[in-house]
């Protein structure tokens, strides 16, 4: 994990879809150009939603903990 609490803007769409659109990291707003992959796992009985997203330079893994209602930056590649 790189950051365990961060600001992420998302669109809750129809069909219970969640689409992250930007996040704050290193005092900068990163606009998400594409969500390349999503997956879910469980930590105990808390559902954790993972999003592989990319901005203009890097690939990030954002994780939403549905029990804690927090977002974390769990992975980073490139840049």
């Amino acid at each position: 994990m790189i950051i365990n609490s961060m600001r992420v803007a998302v669109i809750f769409g129809p069909g219970r879809t969640i689409k992250p659109v930007w996040f704050d990291w290193h005092n900068r707003k990163h606009t998400i150009l594409e969500t390349t992959y999503t997956w879910i796992d469980m930590k105990g009985n808390a559902k954790r939603l993972h999003f592989a997203v990319r901005d203009e330079g890097c690939l990030y893994e954002l994780t939403y903990d549905s029990a804690e209602q927090t977002w974390e930056l769990s992975g980073l590649e490139g840049g």
Binding site: Y37, A52, L59
Partner: protein, 405 residues
């Protein structure tokens, strides 16, 4: 119908990371180990094979990109894909994390043809996950699997009943699911190289050589297979509960081996308790650092157990009577001779306390995640988890749905 995900782990990684698409990549189990779990088609085209060490892969294909696998991604994707299958038929049997059989016989009145179902499945998987699969459609499981292997990647092969003899006539026997290298060698010594030859072989000759499976072999050569697709929840009761782990590095320190044994015992015990089974036989498996030498021994107890410390003590009892010849690469514990039981409260106070403590530990771990509460000697930092490999027995549901890291 048989569905086989193409280079599954590598395809998922390429879908998740656009930088990897179209490039030769190899997926490995963890940072500490060096064996290639699977590779992309671009890497396979350059000679990279599953099971190669990273250095061998790099020597074969210098531009090979090594990616550490993320099992949660794969198990989630596999579970979702199996849910898609169940939109077309309830009769879905997961063969492994990346292969399933579907019996669509009773769905044809809704969806038209099996090819139509296959095209829809392929399109939905591609749309949702950006990965491809090969599908085989045939009159039975054996032929459907053979068909799915005939066109990779992204294939769809149909073997109709009237095409079965023609398809099998020149097909090498090794292409049949269930005929391994050893069986192939035996059959080759009988001058049997193709399925056509196997199907025409005198049954008595086969049974003299192989016993009762001789009949089965002849049927396989003829493309006959009557085994049903066994759907989720209708499988036979599990026969054993086990875990094995390749260690992060080879170890010879007895204290470290014992700690690892305790961790495995806790994994086996907690899964057995979750599914309310207990067993009498404990099997310990050790593979040495040279990769090729190994041993397995078992002990059968007088009573059924599923508490982690009891499993640990039984496994340790086995370990203590063996002198380890080399550092250890892999350890495995299996609990078998199972009883699917209703829980029984122990008579004695100490036993009851131990049971209640275990139940409290299990319910905390169920709520907050595995190993949230564990034995002191397994505290973070002391635990050397090793590489995490999804076992072939993994299934999307039930006792075989192992929580892989």
């Amino acid at each position: 119908m048989h569905v086989d995900m193409n280079a599954f782990f590598a395809s998922v990684e390429q879908a998740a990371n656009p930088e990897l698409r179209g490039k030769p990549i190899a997926v490995v189990g963890g940072h500490g180990r060096t064996v290639i779990t699977t590779s992309s088609y671009e890497a396979r085209a350059k000679g990279v094979k599953t099971g190669m060490a990273i250095w061998e892969g790099k020597r074969t294909c210098p531009e090979l990109i090594i990616v550490v696998g993320d099992n949660k991604k794969y198990t989630h994707t596999s579970t979702r894909i199996n849910e898609i299958f169940r939109d077309y038929t309830p009769e879905v049997e997961a063969f492994s994390i990346d292969e399933s059989w579907l019996d669509v016989t009773h769905s044809l009145s809704i969806f038209g043809t099996a090819e139509n179902i296959a095209y829809q499945i392929k399109a939905r998987i591609k749309h949702l996950f950006g990965i491809t699969c090969s599908i085989g459609v045939a009159p039975n499981k054996l032929l459907a699997k053979l068909a799915s292997d005939m066109q990779k990647p992204d294939g769809l092969t149909v073997i109709t009943p009237e095409n079965v003899p023609r398809t099998l006539e020149q097909m090498p026997i090794k292409e049949l699911c269930g005929i391994g290298k050893k069986m192939q060698r035996h059959l080759n010594t009988m001058s049997i190289y193709t399925c056509g030859e196997l199907g025409r072989c005198d049954e008595n000759r086969l049974t003299r050589k192989f016993g009762i499976i001789g009949t089965r072999l002849k049927e396989m050569g003829q493309g006959i297979d009557n085994t049903p697709v066994v759907q989720f929840g209708k499988e036979d009761d599990v026969k054993s509960v086990g875990h094995s782990r390749t260690l992060e590095r080879d170890i010879d320190d007895p204290a470290e081996i014992r700690r690892f044994l305790l961790q495995l015992s806790e994994m086996v015990g907690s899964r057995a308790r979750r599914y309310n089974v207990s067993g009498k036989t404990i099997h310990l498996y050790v593979r040495y650092a040279d990769f090729f030498s190994s041993w397995g021994k078992q002990t059968t107890l007088k009573s059924y157990i599923n508490l982690s410390d009891e499993i640990y003590r039984a496994a340790l009892g086995i370990l203590n009577i063996v002198e380890l010849g080399q550092p250890v690469r892999l350890l495995g514990i299996t609990l078998s001779n199972l009883k699917h039981q209703a829980e029984q409260l122990p008579l004695f106070e100490d036993e009851r306390k131990k049971l209640f403590a275990t139940q409290a530990m299990d319910s905390i771990n169920d709520r907050f995640g595995r190993m949230s509460v564990t034995f002191g000697s397994l505290l973070p930092g002391k635990e050397k988890a090793g590489s995490h490999v999804i076992p072939p027995s993994w299934r999307p549901d039930g006792v075989k749905n192992i929580d892989v890291q």
